[in-house]
Symmetry: C2
Subunit: 215 residues, 2 copies
Amino acid sequence: MSMILYGYFRSSAAYRMRIALNLKRLDYEQRSIHLRNGEQRADDFLTLQPQGLVPVLQDGDAALIQSPAMLEYLDEAYPDSAPLLPSAPVDRARVRAISDIVCCDIHPLGNLRVLQFLQGPLGIDQAAMIDWFNHWIRLGFDAIETLLADDPRTGRFCHGDHPGMADVCLVPQVFNSRRHDLDLTPYPTISRIWQACEAEAAFAEAHPSRQPDAE
Amino acid sequence: MSMILYGYFRSSAAYRMRIALNLKRLDYEQRSIHLRNGEQRADDFLTLQPQGLVPVLQDGDAALIQSPAMLEYLDEAYPDSAPLLPSAPVDRARVRAISDIVCCDIHPLGNLRVLQFLQGPLGIDQAAMIDWFNHWIRLGFDAIETLLADDPRTGRFCHGDHPGMADVCLVPQVFNSRRHDLDLTPYPTISRIWQACEAEAAFAEAHPSRQPDAE
């Protein structure tokens, strides 16, 4: 039985999962949860994911939540296909740290529910919201650029010459950064790796514009 | 040679690391980076951590950053002491998901640099800042309470009867939630587990009030 990915074409976290499932050549069906229409707040979905957030990955009886936990799960439950992490603990820590900068320090500050809270209850205008959005991406990308540019372990991809967890997290964040036209000129290494990823089928096929629910 | 933990008594992420190092009975020295005095922006520290964030864990030649990546590292590099994760992939995914709700969906929205940006550039007043702070904790705790209360795998701690990664992440977040007096009455399972953790030496000794740089 193939896995089921509950997602939304534009969600960065769902995009991560599509890339990872493609890299590992695992079969999955997609179910779209339309975030702007509030489908994530339907009772059925809340039973799967009490936060009302996508993605959810159903693998047999298990409904898995939180994309960083799911990426680890895929590597542990399906160790025979392309590993998302290298083997040495120090290298694994490096790849996870780059992933965490995206998943903990950039993405949570720019996701839909946060922008809605800024513009609703806090009454922030559109221009200030865009400053906020780009500010956190810029801080995170500054650090990731330094970590990538200064380390001989960086190859064609974030860690060596095979794409892995850090690339899976970085590419959707670069896509997201273009929403409000962040200037990528200060990030030559990130840009180079992003282009290398876009040339891979696993990434290209996971692109938001190519999903069945794309608008 | 013992490890060096660069931290700050009140940082949730440093508090996580102190608990985990204590649980695993690993020796470490603490170096305090005073966040309110801006020591995280000193050149020496930025060489270790380009984001200027604590904690950093120095283990031999390796300077590790990002607490979720460091927790995984401790379990992988020191597998003989108390494991922070259970063994089955589905259970590991559960523990990591609870941890991720704290590390990705709660903590990033309430940390110092974010509150400073809200109150500085965005001009949010103190009352709105406290609403923001508590709003994201409440959303995350609502989900964690459901995940803990509804699952037979919850024991004396978040997963079974030994403390692990989810407890390591949850306890500093509960501590943090008391800063602006969040009502914990809706979270009986979280409260019970928090109290069980506080009774353990590994947690009690890691408490912010017991650190050398506590004010």
